[in-house]
Symmetry: C3
Subunit: 318 residues, 3 copies
């Protein structure tokens, strides 16, 4: 009898704010649920009625076409109605607070809010202001939990496990919510995480979370099972903490030469969109080690799982 | 036998342009229909098939996230397909007239157009140019009938009746389509309406509609059953007809001191979004007398009713 | 037995990039399929389940409210889920290539991409980058095949045939993708095409495609069965190749005087939006010879047919 008892379900949260809160069991339960939704996306009729008549609102205070589309498609695949709230044309432009905006939208009968916001903590704030489910789609430099979950899903899918793997995250760790969420998820799942970047972008303070910090990518290449290359944010390049692009590419850009020094079955990940020829060479991005497009596909399944589980937990709590 | 005879239905209009045209029976019929739709929004599957396969287009020539979302959700809850027409990116930017734009959109098989437009009379114009249903979602300073209907609905829901109540509308009456529509609806339903504001914003000319005009809020507080606080439009504050914000708040802002002088069961309404601390103190906006979020919720039911009734009348007329 | 044999279907393409590729039989098959979808739009429930659970993405790199709405409504009428990809707020603004953007969107499980792009050849490029269906909704000055198909459909509907008709296309032929696609389709279907415009806008080089080029509209009026007036692109008017508006209207504007010199059953077409009083007089645009709104209505049926046939062909090829 391995089935969970009815009064002790694995997933009881109506919000997904970050991976820091979650247990390893919870993360595994999301990944398992995502695996079962993966099949839906291979059908010709890519629909299940799980969220029929439910309303999902994308509350995006930062532009993000991909993440918004991924959540919208995930919600539609669950038969939910989806509405986009565009922060630009909204009352927030008239000085209304996030809480007021959110409470008003909730009063329209919304079941799930997906929030992206430039301020760390905005998703938590929102979850305290409303009764509906809140999914964090990226808040400042704090967290981007569904990105981390889809990365974990992709690693598990390709490697069969996460525990015991050597995973590097390379680039501007300090300013990256993806790096923070990936690191937390990977460590929880038993991977060994190495953060790689120049000292200004990968400071030693990250060691407190249980990760190793190194400043030379070439030193660690042969031991890695997975390399997650972060996008160079071009708006940061002019910052004094950022090296010149040429120098960065020389030290941290991933290309054929560096691939040759890796294990033959190394996975090359990237949250997209790739700066081809900068942090990642074009042939590597399109090569057999790359999981870039598979990450996008898996993102749908992971987001379906998150929407479904949170909504279900909210329903039980009522 | 209280059922209406088949050949004498209460609602026969395919457009909702303003409340000036409507009889008291018609307004009551919309409110009763809305009450029956209210229940749909409390279901876990918030859907009825009433408008399945019908197409609703939001034709918004003025930005309005809330009203557009409310209409979209109402239409989706009736199972309609909803499309947004964004005036900015459209042919109207190429100099096409509203009529040409509307006829073209109608030719795509649209059943209902919801129009918001900066010009008074635009909804009427539109209704004369197309055969489909036209719902006015606000035209200039002329009318905003669904806002008035949801206000009436909320008053009736909380007070059990509208007839005989003392209702004040406070603020910039002169430039407000909400004030105009509310006043007309309230008077038709038998309420006594008091318009409150400085002489430049609440001129005596409004008395011709059957309302009382007063310039001091404090004079009338004890007798009021409902107080509807209008939003200060900040873009008007620099106008010579508008007092300074400080002076305005002192004379017309609603706070705990003023609440203490009201009947204990007074209702505080606001069309949103609230300027907290200006026309309405934050604790009053969130207090038990406030109906602000309930107005938003009721807006869904009222808009479902309007969409449903107009579409049904259009179908009969064919 | 006139039914096509099962292993020899008329339509086997999963992309619609332009009419240059298509045979006359293929064009006729699309028009026949559109005619059968036309009926759906006259039902009260304007829906068929043909594309239920399929995902259609509008990938518009040029603004076009009408064409986007027409494709969205066509897809919704086939029960597909529709998502808009807005080029402005997207990763392409971050320098990502069309191919990368498209592959990422495809990885989310998209079945059909509808692309509008300022560069000729963008639709072909896209079709080589992705496995899903690609529909060209206008690429630079190259092609706009669904516009041409709806024009052919409208001519066939009103005239009973296309073969043998004298059809003029009047205006800025040189810069018009509509003119190019119309010309190709009309010639394939057996019409005689006359291109009319000043030498700078209707150069003799177009004769290589089998069309006649003339520079005086008045010379050919009496012999025409169909006149397709192109829109004056106001942004071109200041170009040195463009005559003054006044001169243009005098030489090529279509009005009552010119109509009087035509056959009584001449059709006046226009791809919209019309500059009333410039290329087309207002009374002619609204008159009985005008097919303008009917073209819009037929556009829905034609786009339903194209979406349906390409998706079906893609399904077979799998």
């Amino acid at each position: 009898m391995t089935e969970p008892a009815v009064d002790d379900p694995v997933w009881t949260r109506k919000h997904l704010l970050g991976l820091a809160d979650l247990t390893r069991d919870e993360i595994e339960f999301i990944l398992d649920t995502a695996a079962s939704f993966q099949e839906v996306s291979t059908r010709s009729i890519k629909k299940v009625p799980a969220l029929r008549g439910r309303v999902v609102v994308n509350l995006f205070f930062e532009e993000s076409t991909r993440t918004r589309m991924s959540f919208s498609l995930a919600a539609q695949r669950l038969s939910a109605d989806v509405l986009d709230f565009s922060a630009k044309s909204s009352s927030t432009a008239k000085g209304e607070s996030l809480r007021d905006t959110a409470r008003n939208i909730e009063a329209m009968g919304v079941d799930i809010m997906i929030i992206r916001h430039p301020s760390a903590g905005a998703a938590l704030d929102l979850s305290q202001a409303v009764d509906c489910c809140v999914i964090n789609a990226g808040d400042g430099q704090h967290a981007h939990p569904t990105q981390a979950l889809l990365d974990l899903f992709t690693i598990r899918e390709r490697k069969g496990r996460i525990e015991g793997l050597n995973v590097a995250i390379v680039g501007d760790i300090a300013h990256s919510r993806v790096a923070r969420s990936d690191m937390r998820g990977l460590i929880k799942m038993g991977a060994r995480v190495t953060l790689v970047g120049p000292p200004t972008l990968a400071p030693r303070t990250f060691e407190q979370f249980g990760a190793r910090v190194v400043h030379k990518l070439d030193d660690v290449l042969p031991e890695l099972d997975v390399i997650n290359m972060l996008r160079i944010q071009k708006e940061r390049i002019t910052s004094p903490v950022f090296p010149s692009v040429r120098e960065y590419v020389q030290l941290f850009g991933f290309d054929r030469k560096r691939l040759a020094r890796c294990k033959p079955d190394v996975l090359i990940m990237h949250p997209g969109p790739v700066n081809r020829g900068l942090e990642l060479a074009a042939d590597i991005a399109d090569g057999p080690q790359s999981t870039i497009l598979r990450q996008v596909t898996n993102g749908l399944a992971v987001r379906m799982a998150v929407l479904f589980l949170c909504q279900q937990a909210a329903g039980k709590g009522r």
